[in-house]
Symmetry: C2
Subunit: 460 residues, 2 copies
């Protein structure tokens, strides 16, 4: 069957296929692919899509497969079109402050390469050391720095995209501004491989910021920490990061590394400032906010190395939660004033469903990642808790996903967030650009086309 | 005929219709509308579109009609759907730093209203005192502040949109982040009334910045000024504005107001800093750059009132050019390193075509507004010069429009900037969301649908 696919970089070795069947989303179904194409050129992508479109074969685009929503999981009979080997940084233009990269470049690799030239690529998802720019673009990934700098989409100037039928298109431009035509770039950013396959990304860069300093504040309750967030931001500050962790998260991370936090802490808030000479002033203001909101202790560091260590602790959360038998990581984002209500509600949901929920997240943006931790015997309760968190997020005026994407995991919920006409628009756009519905069918929206063989039931 | 339109706020008074036939673009054809609806409610918009869609009548959405590309000009037999009376600021949420406004709110009115609450709405097109938020959204308007803060689209969180068939849709969200579904908000931003009519806009705000200080540098040549731009930005600075004016522009403005500039100046560069305590440092660095690039004089002011006056001078350019019998204002944006080449090329184009071109613009973004100034007898030469500037912009890796939009004026040029597949995508999206092609047909893209009666020839 595979021999039909006119692309050299194709394999149908069952062991290899098995290894590429899933991303990092827990409990999302994955089907049995017919083939894997590890594209090594634009032509490989073009030929794969052209063939698949002609033959009505579903294609699942993949990058580093670090996604958390099942958007890169295999569908029965699909071609997995993996672009991780398209991993060249094609250009870093210091004067224009842009870089042109292939989709398989790892986020952290790009960030390091531009840093060597005195530049800064701000988007820094928690997965930055393992996730690729293509995937960051596909999900419009966020990170710690969004509060001050914005999300991935804010740094994408132009794309090269291969459409479902294999035609190649350029969107956007290299210039700082430009309004010629519809903003196709932003339409493709966050479209999770359902509208086209991104084969080249032009990103905007900034001048290197000062090495960040950090402060850490400890609280008895999450509620106090949330008040401190509101107090600090309400005073007009825009720190480079403002990260919140609850007791369960601190405990999980603490098992991997001694963070030197005092015992019995209910919540910790980490603020980072890269404002250079003004950083001490910003962090002093943060300390004031924290103390006004009943912080039990605040430590302001004047050593960038300490700030690194603190943020490394925060970045360990994902790994730390893997110690648990099973977890479902949520990603709601609410208006900041509702952060405390959200956090209270999450604690109530945990109690009601008899599961542990470890909550951390980008407090400055109102974007929280409550992780439902459970034994497999609790799977149904865990799923209900996971859903309940999204329901609460929507009720508080928020969204079901701040930065992880819809993928398979949350597509039933998309219809609760969007109104009927917005959903109709999604279907119309999908149909317009991928008339045969071969591109990642059934992800983000329930496409009416080929998504055959997909198990719509959640399979624990 | 109009009696069919089931909306009270309708007129077919020929004098009124005549007054609403055009925006501020020079030399764009405008047809004879059948009716004008001055919508006073969402229902007026819904009913107008529903009726027009059922009856296959073209609809031209209008706001303050300050656009510069003919996108709001009447088409023969169209309904002009004007939303300038939908002019309420519905909400300013200080804690969340967002505002919800109707499309007819004037940009400057919103900026002033949020400033009273200690907040800042950065997008500041040159037209800010007369242009409305709806139009700013429709064109993704820029301004002076884009270099530091971004364009209109960067501040739009959510929209209420009425689709061609009268259905109402919400896009986006109030939260700082969110990736649930396609980015319909950004698709509608900059779509110039061809995909839907925006009836509500939720914008992000920022904490008030410090009152800006400014410096002004004088040069013998535009080329020196361009080098100073590169020097200053290359050092990692990101001023709140970096505006360039050539001798012809200075002369035109000087006839309206004495700017106190030395005589015989070839180019002036104005830098603005709102960095508060760091503003003097930024402006001193700007002075250094200017002097390294042969500035004949540099004045650094420590008085915000003087900065205001300088920027007011810059903002007078539009009015100043109206002194000339006729003008065609271009809007190319090029990679910054090509700014000097662009400026040289524009001077050459002026000579070759025997017209005057006054050039000013947002030098920090590479976004220039060369205005071809001419007597009506020179109309053909002026048009050729205008086109030649766009050709040069594209050749230098730029775009035909940085912030004014395509409208009617530049739609033939869109096909030169975009590749065939990108153009196809535009048509597919247009067809998907407006199947009968009633919304602003023939603007941005040559729609295949109802654009009947439009004169495709430029009419001088």
């Amino acid at each position: 069957m595979t021999s039909q696919l006119p692309v050299d970089a194709t394999t149908d070795d069952p062991d290899v296929l098995a290894a590429y069947r899933t991303d990092r989303a827990a409990f999302c179904p994955s089907g049995t692919p017919r083939a894997l194409v590890r594209a090594r050129s634009l032509d490989d992508v073009v030929e794969t899509l052209r063939w698949a479109n002609e033959n009505n074969v579903p294609v699942v685009p993949q990058g580093a497969r670090t996604g958390l929503s099942g958007g890169a999981n295999a569908l029965d009979g699909c071609v997995l079109l993996n672009v991780e080997k398209l991993d060249q940084i094609l250009e870093i233009d210091v004067e224009e402050q842009i870089a042109v990269v292939q989709p398989g470049v790892i986020n952290g690799t790009l960030a390091a390469a531009v840093a060597e030239k005195g530049l800064y690529y701000p988007p820094d998802p928690g997965s930055k050391d393992i996730s690729s720019i293509g995937g960051n673009v596909a999900t419009n990934a966020g990170g710690m720095c969004c509060l001050k700098y914005g999300v991935t989409g804010d740094f994408v100037r132009a794309l090269q995209v291969v459409l479902a039928d294999g035609r190649v298109m350029r969107t956007g431009r290299r210039t700082a501004k430009g309004v010629a035509g519809y903003d196709l770039t932003r339409l493709f950013v966050g479209s999770e491989g359902t509208l086209g396959v991104v084969t080249e990304v032009t990103v905007a860069l900034r001048s290197a910021a000062a090495r960040p300093l950090a402060a850490v504040a400890f609280f008895d309750t999450m509620s106090d920490a949330c008040r401190a967030v509101a107090d600090h931001l309400g005073a007009g500050f825009r720190p480079a990061a403002l990260e919140l962790m609850d007791a369960a998260t601190i405990e999980a991370v603490g098992r991997m590394r001694d963070l030197g936090f005092p015992p019995g802490v209910g919540a910790v808030l980490i603020a980072q400032s890269d404002a250079g000479t003004r950083a001490p002033e910003e962090l002093a203001a943060f300390e004031g906010s924290a103390r006004r909101c009943s912080a039990t202790e605040v430590i302001v560091s004047d050593d960038p190395a300490e700030a690194d260590l603190l943020m490394q602790g925060r970045r360990l959360v994902g790994l730390a939660l893997e110690q648990y038998p099973a977890s479902l990581v949520d990603d709601i984002c609410v208006p900041r004033r509702n952060l405390a209500v959200l956090v209270d509600g999450i604690e109530r949901i945990a109690e009601e469903h008899g599961v542990t929920i470890a909550t951390c997240g980008h407090a400055g943006d109102g974007n929280m990642h409550p992780a439902v931790l459970f034994d497999l015997a609790q799977a149904d309760a865990a799923q209900r808790a996971f859903d309940e968190i999204m329901r609460l997020g929507l009720k508080l005026g928020g969204t079901i996903t701040g930065e992880h994407g819809v993928g398979f995991l949350k597509r039933a919920w998309l219809a609760r967030e969007l109104d009927e006409t917005a959903l109709w628009s999604h279907h119309q756009i999908k149909q317009a650009l991928d008339p045969r519905g071969i591109l990642n069918p059934g992800r983000v929206i329930n496409s009416t086309a080929t998504g055959r063989g997909e198990n719509d039931q959640r399979s624990f």
